[in-house]
Symmetry: C2
Subunit: 373 residues, 2 copies
């Protein structure tokens, strides 16, 4: 994975340079804007960079499609590599924007083991002894921080396209980016809708509805779209795009199913989120839908009552975890993950792409679905 | 102004067509997304379209710079007009996004006489009898609605650039758009910061600080940038851009000063916002800074205590209005408006632009600074 590691370094230095330039503008407007610059930088340091990596390997997959097995996919800096670095960095910025607003919407206190954006602004308010409500300031400032990151992601994406020579590659990458942003916004809305609107809907639909949220909020956005954006930049054919879609979508579903398991059973030390966080938020995931299908009516009523209570005790969390595990839902989700990964790998094997990229994408598929954080 | 009226019609039909296409995508994902489509359309119907008009007349100003006085600036549909219609529509979408998040941040209940976005979603929640808190759903859904509009504004802006032939015009318009978005986000942050951070700052700085908010949150964003974006699309020279800046910035300041007066003294029937709304929000405007400078310490303390109390009674609002008026601050603000308009008009008279556009921009300058809503 040395190529991936090198790419992640390029992403970090691209993001750092971009933020430096924007921070200069902010501070030239007013010193008081320094927290916007500082927090946005913090939220973009580290992270797993999966989106950037899928974008990069989507690009490599197409760029090296004519290579013989065993060929070296290494690229030299400058030229087209600059474009994919900018575009992949833009995807990371977009993701950070989505997380800032998502934490706000879900009222989550932590992100990657540190306070979420609105909590950081709230803490700043308290430290500085400003007037009024710290929570109100935190919410307002985090709304703007998310907007700022959203705007910058677009600016950086456009910079990447400007570095791309082919007009049809630009159009195709831009169309995929636009669609991705619409999909994820729709998915986020459906996600919060499911938490409050599920009671009026037939139980039988719940699994299908949870799967729909996965597809739009996460699967397309986290894997399929970054892959296709990268591939588009390299001038992918319709056949290549289709093949990568057949790999990316099931893998994205598997990725999110792993996330759902981690949201209930993950180790807080590793995930950086409190254990059982999804239960307190009342997320209506596939895992929950499968549990509800499997347990008797009494247990289902208790589950419905507890889910979404922000004040669940560790004891109640443990009870819910046990109910979910004993229902067999965990095994079913593990099977769904394995099945989706198998479908993805099969599509990958048949895709008309470069051999080195194929091997790297196979490794990435394992990494994103077997992770602990 | 028949040219302006015709342009506003083109804007509306461009926005409608664009929303139709996006609504189809949303509903193809899930029926439950219909409110996102419906509310975004509602927020984009009507409004004064000042930003679109300044963009259009900035474009016309440059496009017809060689015309003799008395020449007809009328344009035929298609070609470059399509580009400026898309770009001007994008500015209106961006503005709607900013308003949705701004109302959320300020916790405003109304916008143009109708419920603000978060209140509409909250009402929907109550009507449908969904689970959980309507306010939480309203906040989350409005955050996403703002994101959706922000993303679409960018998509439409890019469409407009795609319709623009000159690469340097594209680059220049895009750079101005990027800077505008950064400026307004910075200005919004400074705006909420002033409401909570003013107490720790020297009184003597307050006026300068209030003026800084005006420049970034409103003046550049509402007038200068739209004007420059339009001018850029038509291939403006550096000299033309400078001249339009010298017109746009002071006019934008005058525009926002009028807004500040309306925020305190405006007729709720006409503004669509409750009378004295800015006082309840505790906005630290130039008007307030001038009042604080003019009144004795006791009255200043009372003012500081009342400002920002969301539960101000109509009686207290009236008392505050009287304090502000009696301090002479209203007259001072009126003088500032007149001075800034005069500076703007002087710059306009000297600008190397088309004669018909000059006349229209002069009319617009009066409209935006003498309005009652």
């Amino acid at each position: 994975m040395s190529e991936s590691i090198r790419f992640v370094d390029l992403i970090q230095s691209r993001i750092d340079g971009f933020f430096d330039a924007r921070a200069s503008i902010l501070v030239s407007i007013a010193d008081e804007l320094a927290p916007i610059a500082a927090f946005s930088r913090d939220f973009l340091s580290g992270g797993k960079r999966f989106r950037a990596l899928f974008c990069f390997w989507g690009w490599q997959a197409v760029r090296t499609a004519g290579d013989e097995p065993g060929a070296d996919a290494a690229v030299t800096a400058g030229g087209p590599l600059d474009a994919v670095v900018s575009v992949a960095s833009a995807l990371e910025l977009f993701h950070a924007a989505a997380l800032v607003h998502d934490d706000l919407i879900d009222n989550s206190d932590t992100r990657r083991g540190a306070p979420s954006a609105h909590r950081r602004f709230e803490r700043l308010h308290d430290q500085e002894g400003w007037q009024g409500s710290g929570a109100t300031f935190g919410t307002g400032a985090a709304t703007l921080l998310g907007d700022y990151l959203l705007i910058l992601s677009d600016e950086l994406f456009d910079e990447g396209l400007t570095q791309t020579v082919s007009a049809s590659a630009r159009r195709s990458a831009r169309a995929e980016f636009n669609r991705m942003r619409l999909d994820v916004t729709a998915g986020q809305y459906l996600d919060i809708f499911e938490e409050i609107g599920w009671a009026g809907r037939p139980d039988a639909d719940q699994l299908a509805r949870a799967e729909r949220v996965i597809v739009y909020k996460s699967a397309k956005y986290s894997i399929e779209s970054p892959l296709l954006i990268g591939a588009s930049l390299a001038g992918a054919t319709v056949g290549q795009l289709d093949a990568l879609r057949r790999f990316g979508l099931p893998l994205g579903i598997a990725y999110q199913l792993r996330d759902d398991l981690l949201g209930v059973f993950g180790d807080a030390e590793v995930t950086g989120k409190p254990s059982g966080d999804d239960l307190r938020e009342g997320k209506r995931t596939v895992l929950i839908a499968l549990t509800r299908q499997a347990v008797p009516a009494g247990a289902r009523a208790t589950l419905d009552e507890l889910l979404g209570d922000p004040d669940l005790t560790p004891q109640q969390i443990q009870t819910l975890q046990m109910t979910i595990r004993d229902s067999g839902a965990v095994e079913k989700v593990e099977r769904m993950i394995a099945d989706n990964v198998a479908i993805a790998i099969e599509a990958l094997d048949e895709a008309p792409i470069g051999p080195a990229a194929r091997a790297q994408l196979r490794e990435l598929a394992v990494t994103v679905t077997r992770r602990a954080s």
